[in-house]
C-alpha cells in the first residue's frame, strides 16, 4: 500500500478480474489505483457464497 504525501482524499478505482467461476465460488485477481498509481495489488483471492443458515450451524 502506498501513501500519497499531502493527499487528504483519495479517489480509489478497483479493478477486479475473475479468473475462475465455479458457480458459488470465484477466484479473482486485481488492483486498486489512485490515478495512475497502483496502491494495492491482489495476487489471488477466493470468495464463496454461503447461506446464513450454514454459518449459524457452524457455531460452537
Amino acid at each position: 500500500v502506498t501513501a500519497i504525501a499531502g493527499a487528504t482524499a483519495y479517489g480509489l478505482e478497483h479493478r477486479a478480474r475473475i479468473v475462475r467461476d465455479l458457480g458459488d465460488t470465484w477466484i479473482f485477481t486485481g488492483e486498486t489505483r489512485v490515478g495512475d498509481a497502483v496502491v494495492l495489488e491482489v495476487g489471488s483471492a477466493m470468495t464463496a457464497l454461503r447461506p446464513a443458515a450454514v454459518l449459524r450451524e457452524a457455531a460452537p
Binding site: V1, T2, I4, A5, A52, L55, R56, A59, P60
Partner: protein
C-alpha cells in the same frame, strides 16, 4: 520486548475508534533467537463494536479484515512507534478463513513474529482459534513502519 501482558492501544491512534484487539500478551521473547517473538492476542466479537452494525443486520460476524487489523494492532502495541510510525501491513501473503467468527465468541490469535531484532520489517505467522479450540483462520503477513515508497 519482554514477556508478559502488554497495554493495548486504546484507541489505536492510526485506527480510532476501531479497536480490533482486547488483550495482548508476549508469550516468548526470543531476541537471542533470530528475533523470534510469540504473542497471544484475544478479541471478543461484540455486536456493539462500531464496525459490526451492518455485518450483518441479523447475524453478527467478524469480518476477516478485522482479524488482520487485530494482528496489526497487537504488533503495534508490542513494538510501539518509532518517529511516530507504528508497524502497518505491507503484504498479506495468505489468509484462510475456515469458520465464521460469530457474536459472543472469543477469538485467540497466536502470532509468531520473526525479525523483531531488526529495524524495519517483521514477518507474522498467525493461527486463530475460537473458544472451543477449533481453528477459524490462518494468516501470514509482512509488517513494516510507514509507507516504504512515500514521497
Amino acid at each position: 520486548v519482554t514477556a508478559g501482558e502488554v497495554a493495548v492501544l486504546d484507541p489505536p491512534p492510526f485506527a480510532a475508534p476501531l479497536r480490533a484487539v482486547d488483550r495482548v500478551e508476549v508469550l516468548a521473547d526470543g531476541a537471542a533467537d533470530g528475533g523470534r517473538t510469540t504473542l497471544r492476542a484475544v478479541k471478543t466479537v461484540r455486536a456493539t463494536d462500531p464496525y459490526l452494525g451492518g455485518h450483518f443486520p441479523d447475524l453478527t460476524m467478524l469480518p476477516g479484515v478485522f482479524l488482520i487489523e487485530g494482528v496489526r494492532q497487537a504488533v503495534a502495541a508490542v513494538l510501539g512507534s518509532r518517529n511516530g510510525a507504528y508497524p502497518e501491513v505491507r503484504e498479506l501473503r495468505s489468509a484462510r478463513f475456515l469458520l465464521p467468527m460469530l457474536g459472543g465468541e472469543e477469538i485467540t490469535s497466536e502470532i509468531e513474529l520473526t525479525g523483531t531484532d531488526t529495524a524495519d520489517e517483521v514477518e507474522a505467522v498467525v493461527r486463530c482459534r475460537r473458544g472451543d479450540g477449533k481453528p477459524v483462520a490462518t494468516l501470514a503477513l509482512r509488517l513494516g513502519r510507514g509507507a516504504p515508497d512515500a514521497a
